[in-house]
Symmetry: C2
Subunit: 147 residues, 2 copies
Protein backbone atom coordinates (compact mmCIF):
# COMPACT_ATOMS: atom_id res chain seq x y z
CA UNK A 1 0.00 0.00 0.00
CA UNK A 2 1.23 3.48 -0.92
CA UNK A 3 0.66 5.64 2.15
CA UNK A 4 1.11 8.76 0.04
CA UNK A 5 -1.82 7.82 -2.20
CA UNK A 6 -4.66 10.33 -1.89
CA UNK A 7 -7.25 7.63 -1.29
CA UNK A 8 -5.23 6.30 1.65
CA UNK A 9 -5.23 9.60 3.47
CA UNK A 10 -7.36 10.10 6.54
CA UNK A 11 -7.27 13.88 6.56
CA UNK A 12 -8.31 14.47 2.97
CA UNK A 13 -11.86 13.13 3.41
CA UNK A 14 -12.34 15.30 6.50
CA UNK A 15 -11.08 18.28 4.53
CA UNK A 16 -13.23 17.72 1.45
CA UNK A 17 -16.36 16.61 3.32
CA UNK A 18 -16.12 19.69 5.51
CA UNK A 19 -15.90 21.97 2.50
CA UNK A 20 -18.74 20.15 0.75
CA UNK A 21 -21.11 20.43 3.70
CA UNK A 22 -20.26 24.11 4.12
CA UNK A 23 -21.13 24.57 0.45
CA UNK A 24 -24.48 22.87 0.95
CA UNK A 25 -25.24 25.11 3.90
CA UNK A 26 -24.88 28.20 1.73
CA UNK A 27 -28.37 28.28 0.17
CA UNK A 28 -29.92 27.49 3.57
CA UNK A 29 -28.08 30.33 5.29
CA UNK A 30 -28.43 32.88 2.52
CA UNK A 31 -31.95 33.98 3.60
CA UNK A 32 -30.47 34.71 7.05
CA UNK A 33 -27.57 36.62 5.45
CA UNK A 34 -25.13 34.38 7.31
CA UNK A 35 -22.05 32.46 6.26
CA UNK A 36 -21.36 29.12 7.95
CA UNK A 37 -18.80 30.46 10.47
CA UNK A 38 -21.16 33.34 11.29
CA UNK A 39 -23.95 30.79 11.80
CA UNK A 40 -21.72 28.90 14.25
CA UNK A 41 -21.29 32.04 16.33
CA UNK A 42 -25.06 32.51 16.35
CA UNK A 43 -25.54 28.87 17.45
CA UNK A 44 -23.25 29.46 20.41
CA UNK A 45 -25.14 32.61 21.39
CA UNK A 46 -28.57 31.01 21.01
CA UNK A 47 -27.29 28.36 23.40
CA UNK A 48 -25.88 30.89 25.85
CA UNK A 49 -26.20 34.64 25.51
CA UNK A 50 -23.95 37.32 27.03
CA UNK A 51 -20.71 35.38 26.98
CA UNK A 52 -17.18 36.61 26.44
CA UNK A 53 -15.71 36.58 22.98
CA UNK A 54 -12.94 34.42 24.44
CA UNK A 55 -15.53 31.81 25.39
CA UNK A 56 -17.05 31.79 21.88
CA UNK A 57 -13.56 31.26 20.50
CA UNK A 58 -12.96 28.40 22.90
CA UNK A 59 -16.14 26.59 21.86
CA UNK A 60 -15.62 27.09 18.14
CA UNK A 61 -11.81 26.72 18.27
CA UNK A 62 -11.33 30.08 16.59
CA UNK A 63 -8.69 32.61 17.58
CA UNK A 64 -9.15 36.37 17.73
CA UNK A 65 -7.71 36.88 14.26
CA UNK A 66 -10.66 34.96 12.84
CA UNK A 67 -13.26 35.89 15.41
CA UNK A 68 -12.81 39.67 15.58
CA UNK A 69 -13.91 40.28 11.98
CA UNK A 70 -16.69 37.66 12.32
CA UNK A 71 -18.08 39.44 15.38
CA UNK A 72 -17.83 42.81 13.65
CA UNK A 73 -19.78 41.46 10.68
CA UNK A 74 -22.55 40.18 12.96
CA UNK A 75 -22.69 43.59 14.65
CA UNK A 76 -22.98 45.24 11.23
CA UNK A 77 -25.85 42.86 10.45
CA UNK A 78 -27.55 44.00 13.65
CA UNK A 79 -27.67 40.52 15.20
CA UNK A 80 -25.36 41.13 18.18
CA UNK A 81 -23.83 43.87 20.31
CA UNK A 82 -20.54 43.96 22.15
CA UNK A 83 -19.59 45.78 25.31
CA UNK A 84 -16.76 45.56 27.80
CA UNK A 85 -17.25 43.64 31.02
CA UNK A 86 -17.08 46.36 33.74
CA UNK A 87 -15.50 43.84 36.15
CA UNK A 88 -12.72 43.08 33.68
CA UNK A 89 -12.34 45.51 30.84
CA UNK A 90 -10.27 43.02 28.88
CA UNK A 91 -13.35 40.87 28.25
CA UNK A 92 -15.83 41.68 25.52
CA UNK A 93 -19.32 40.51 26.38
CA UNK A 94 -21.31 39.53 23.30
CA UNK A 95 -25.06 39.89 23.47
CA UNK A 96 -27.86 39.11 21.03
CA UNK A 97 -30.06 41.97 19.84
CA UNK A 98 -33.82 41.39 19.48
CA UNK A 99 -33.17 40.86 15.78
CA UNK A 100 -30.52 38.25 16.55
CA UNK A 101 -32.75 36.60 19.12
CA UNK A 102 -35.71 36.28 16.77
CA UNK A 103 -33.47 34.95 14.02
CA UNK A 104 -33.43 31.66 15.91
CA UNK A 105 -36.99 30.99 14.79
CA UNK A 106 -35.99 31.34 11.15
CA UNK A 107 -33.09 28.96 11.75
CA UNK A 108 -35.23 26.20 13.27
CA UNK A 109 -35.75 24.21 10.07
CA UNK A 110 -32.12 24.43 8.92
CA UNK A 111 -30.86 21.23 10.62
CA UNK A 112 -33.62 19.04 9.17
CA UNK A 113 -33.24 20.63 5.74
CA UNK A 114 -29.52 19.95 5.84
CA UNK A 115 -29.98 16.27 6.72
CA UNK A 116 -32.37 16.04 3.79
CA UNK A 117 -29.86 17.74 1.48
CA UNK A 118 -27.13 15.36 2.67
CA UNK A 119 -29.44 12.41 2.01
CA UNK A 120 -29.01 10.78 5.40
CA UNK A 121 -31.40 8.65 7.41
CA UNK A 122 -31.91 9.23 11.13
CA UNK A 123 -29.80 6.16 11.99
CA UNK A 124 -26.98 7.20 9.68
CA UNK A 125 -26.97 10.69 11.15
CA UNK A 126 -26.64 9.31 14.67
CA UNK A 127 -23.99 6.78 13.70
CA UNK A 128 -21.80 9.39 11.99
CA UNK A 129 -22.30 11.80 14.83
CA UNK A 130 -21.12 9.23 17.36
CA UNK A 131 -18.09 8.34 15.30
CA UNK A 132 -17.19 12.01 14.98
CA UNK A 133 -17.71 12.69 18.68
CA UNK A 134 -15.39 9.79 19.45
CA UNK A 135 -12.78 11.10 17.05
CA UNK A 136 -13.06 14.65 18.42
CA UNK A 137 -12.53 13.22 21.88
CA UNK A 138 -9.38 11.43 20.75
CA UNK A 139 -8.04 14.70 19.36
CA UNK A 140 -8.87 16.46 22.61
CA UNK A 141 -11.21 18.87 20.85
CA UNK A 142 -13.88 18.50 23.52
CA UNK A 143 -11.64 19.47 26.41
CA UNK A 144 -13.15 22.80 27.23
CA UNK A 145 -10.11 24.83 28.16
CA UNK A 146 -12.22 27.54 29.76
CA UNK A 147 -13.80 25.36 32.46
Amino acid sequence: MNALHLTNQLCFPFYSISKEITKRYRPLLEPLHLTYPQYLVMLVLWEQDRIAMKEIGARLKLNSGTLTPLINKLIALGYIEKKRNPDDERHLVIQLTNKGLSLENEAQQIPEKLVEILGLTEEEYIRYQQMLAEFSMKLGLNDDATC
Copy 2:
Protein backbone atom coordinates in the same frame (compact mmCIF):
# COMPACT_ATOMS: atom_id res chain seq x y z
CA MET B 1 -33.45 17.54 21.60
CA ASN B 2 -32.44 20.98 20.41
CA ALA B 3 -31.32 20.57 16.81
CA LEU B 4 -29.64 23.97 16.92
CA HIS B 5 -27.36 22.90 19.76
CA LEU B 6 -23.73 22.87 18.69
CA THR B 7 -23.16 19.36 20.00
CA ASN B 8 -26.02 18.06 17.87
CA GLN B 9 -24.53 19.33 14.64
CA LEU B 10 -23.02 16.94 12.15
CA CYS B 11 -21.06 19.50 10.19
CA PHE B 12 -19.28 21.17 13.06
CA PRO B 13 -17.17 18.11 13.99
CA PHE B 14 -16.12 17.71 10.36
CA TYR B 15 -15.19 21.40 10.27
CA SER B 16 -13.23 21.43 13.50
CA ILE B 17 -11.56 18.04 13.04
CA SER B 18 -10.45 19.08 9.57
CA LYS B 19 -8.89 22.27 10.90
CA GLU B 20 -7.24 20.42 13.79
CA ILE B 21 -5.64 17.79 11.56
CA THR B 22 -4.41 20.49 9.18
CA LYS B 23 -2.84 22.20 12.16
CA ARG B 24 -1.08 18.98 13.18
CA TYR B 25 0.27 18.55 9.67
CA ARG B 26 2.00 21.93 9.87
CA PRO B 27 5.18 20.89 11.72
CA LEU B 28 5.47 17.78 9.53
CA LEU B 29 5.19 19.78 6.31
CA GLU B 30 7.32 22.72 7.40
CA PRO B 31 10.63 20.99 6.51
CA LEU B 32 9.25 20.51 2.97
CA HIS B 33 8.15 24.18 2.87
CA LEU B 34 4.62 23.04 2.05
CA THR B 35 1.21 23.98 3.40
CA TYR B 36 -1.44 21.26 3.57
CA PRO B 37 -3.25 22.23 0.33
CA GLN B 38 0.11 22.48 -1.44
CA TYR B 39 0.96 19.01 -0.10
CA LEU B 40 -2.31 17.69 -1.56
CA VAL B 41 -1.31 18.95 -5.01
CA MET B 42 2.05 17.21 -4.63
CA LEU B 43 0.31 13.95 -3.61
CA VAL B 44 -1.76 14.08 -6.80
CA LEU B 45 1.34 14.65 -8.92
CA TRP B 46 3.37 11.91 -7.21
CA GLU B 47 0.47 9.63 -8.10
CA GLN B 48 0.28 10.82 -11.69
CA ASP B 49 2.63 13.32 -13.26
CA ARG B 50 1.98 15.55 -16.30
CA ILE B 51 -1.72 16.03 -15.81
CA ALA B 52 -3.88 19.03 -16.57
CA MET B 53 -4.54 21.59 -13.89
CA LYS B 54 -8.24 20.90 -14.46
CA GLU B 55 -7.66 17.27 -13.49
CA ILE B 56 -5.86 18.23 -10.28
CA GLY B 57 -8.78 20.49 -9.45
CA ALA B 58 -11.23 17.66 -10.10
CA ARG B 59 -9.41 15.27 -7.76
CA LEU B 60 -8.97 17.80 -4.95
CA LYS B 61 -12.31 19.54 -5.53
CA LEU B 62 -10.64 22.91 -5.89
CA ASN B 63 -11.59 25.50 -8.48
CA SER B 64 -9.21 27.66 -10.44
CA GLY B 65 -9.53 30.59 -8.05
CA THR B 66 -7.93 28.44 -5.37
CA LEU B 67 -5.69 26.33 -7.55
CA THR B 68 -4.03 29.01 -9.69
CA PRO B 69 -2.20 30.68 -6.76
CA LEU B 70 -1.39 27.24 -5.27
CA ILE B 71 0.22 26.11 -8.52
CA ASN B 72 2.12 29.39 -8.83
CA LYS B 73 3.49 28.94 -5.32
CA LEU B 74 4.70 25.43 -6.11
CA ILE B 75 6.38 26.77 -9.24
CA ALA B 76 8.07 29.47 -7.17
CA LEU B 77 9.27 26.72 -4.81
CA GLY B 78 10.77 24.92 -7.80
CA TYR B 79 8.74 21.74 -7.31
CA ILE B 80 6.68 21.88 -10.52
CA GLU B 81 6.53 23.44 -13.97
CA LYS B 82 3.58 24.35 -16.14
CA LYS B 83 3.26 24.46 -19.88
CA ARG B 84 0.43 24.56 -22.35
CA ASN B 85 -0.73 21.36 -24.01
CA PRO B 86 0.16 21.87 -27.71
CA ASP B 87 -2.90 19.83 -28.72
CA ASP B 88 -5.20 22.09 -26.72
CA GLU B 89 -3.73 25.37 -25.63
CA ARG B 90 -6.48 25.81 -23.06
CA HIS B 91 -5.01 23.06 -20.90
CA LEU B 92 -2.08 23.65 -18.58
CA VAL B 93 0.02 20.54 -18.14
CA ILE B 94 1.62 20.37 -14.72
CA GLN B 95 4.88 18.50 -14.41
CA LEU B 96 7.17 17.70 -11.50
CA THR B 97 10.72 19.03 -11.58
CA ASN B 98 13.57 16.81 -10.34
CA LYS B 99 13.35 18.69 -7.08
CA GLY B 100 9.62 17.98 -6.84
CA LEU B 101 10.14 14.36 -7.77
CA SER B 102 12.79 13.75 -5.14
CA LEU B 103 10.69 15.49 -2.51
CA GLU B 104 8.56 12.34 -2.43
CA ASN B 105 11.32 10.55 -0.53
CA GLU B 106 11.30 13.19 2.18
CA ALA B 107 7.51 12.86 2.41
CA GLN B 108 7.52 9.09 2.91
CA GLN B 109 7.39 9.13 6.69
CA ILE B 110 4.72 11.82 6.95
CA PRO B 111 1.68 9.49 6.95
CA GLU B 112 3.00 7.31 9.76
CA LYS B 113 4.11 10.32 11.76
CA LEU B 114 0.66 11.83 11.41
CA VAL B 115 -1.09 8.68 12.63
CA GLU B 116 1.22 8.73 15.61
CA ILE B 117 0.45 12.39 16.27
CA LEU B 118 -3.27 11.69 16.02
CA GLY B 119 -2.86 8.81 18.48
CA LEU B 120 -4.66 6.20 16.39
CA THR B 121 -4.18 2.45 16.19
CA GLU B 122 -4.06 0.68 12.83
CA GLU B 123 -7.61 -0.67 13.31
CA GLU B 124 -8.98 2.74 14.27
CA TYR B 125 -7.34 4.32 11.25
CA ILE B 126 -8.94 1.77 8.92
CA ARG B 127 -12.33 2.01 10.59
CA TYR B 128 -12.43 5.81 10.34
CA GLN B 129 -11.19 5.70 6.79
CA GLN B 130 -13.98 3.33 5.77
CA MET B 131 -16.61 5.41 7.46
CA LEU B 132 -15.32 8.52 5.73
CA ALA B 133 -15.13 6.84 2.34
CA GLU B 134 -18.73 5.75 2.80
CA PHE B 135 -19.78 9.26 3.70
CA SER B 136 -17.86 10.78 0.79
CA MET B 137 -19.63 8.35 -1.50
CA LYS B 138 -23.01 9.44 -0.15
CA LEU B 139 -22.12 13.06 -0.87
CA GLY B 140 -21.02 12.11 -4.38
CA LEU B 141 -17.49 13.32 -3.74
CA ASN B 142 -15.95 10.25 -5.33
CA ASP B 143 -17.75 10.63 -8.64
CA ASP B 144 -14.82 11.58 -10.78
CA ALA B 145 -16.38 14.07 -13.14
CA THR B 146 -13.43 13.87 -15.50
CA CYS B 147 -13.76 10.16 -16.35
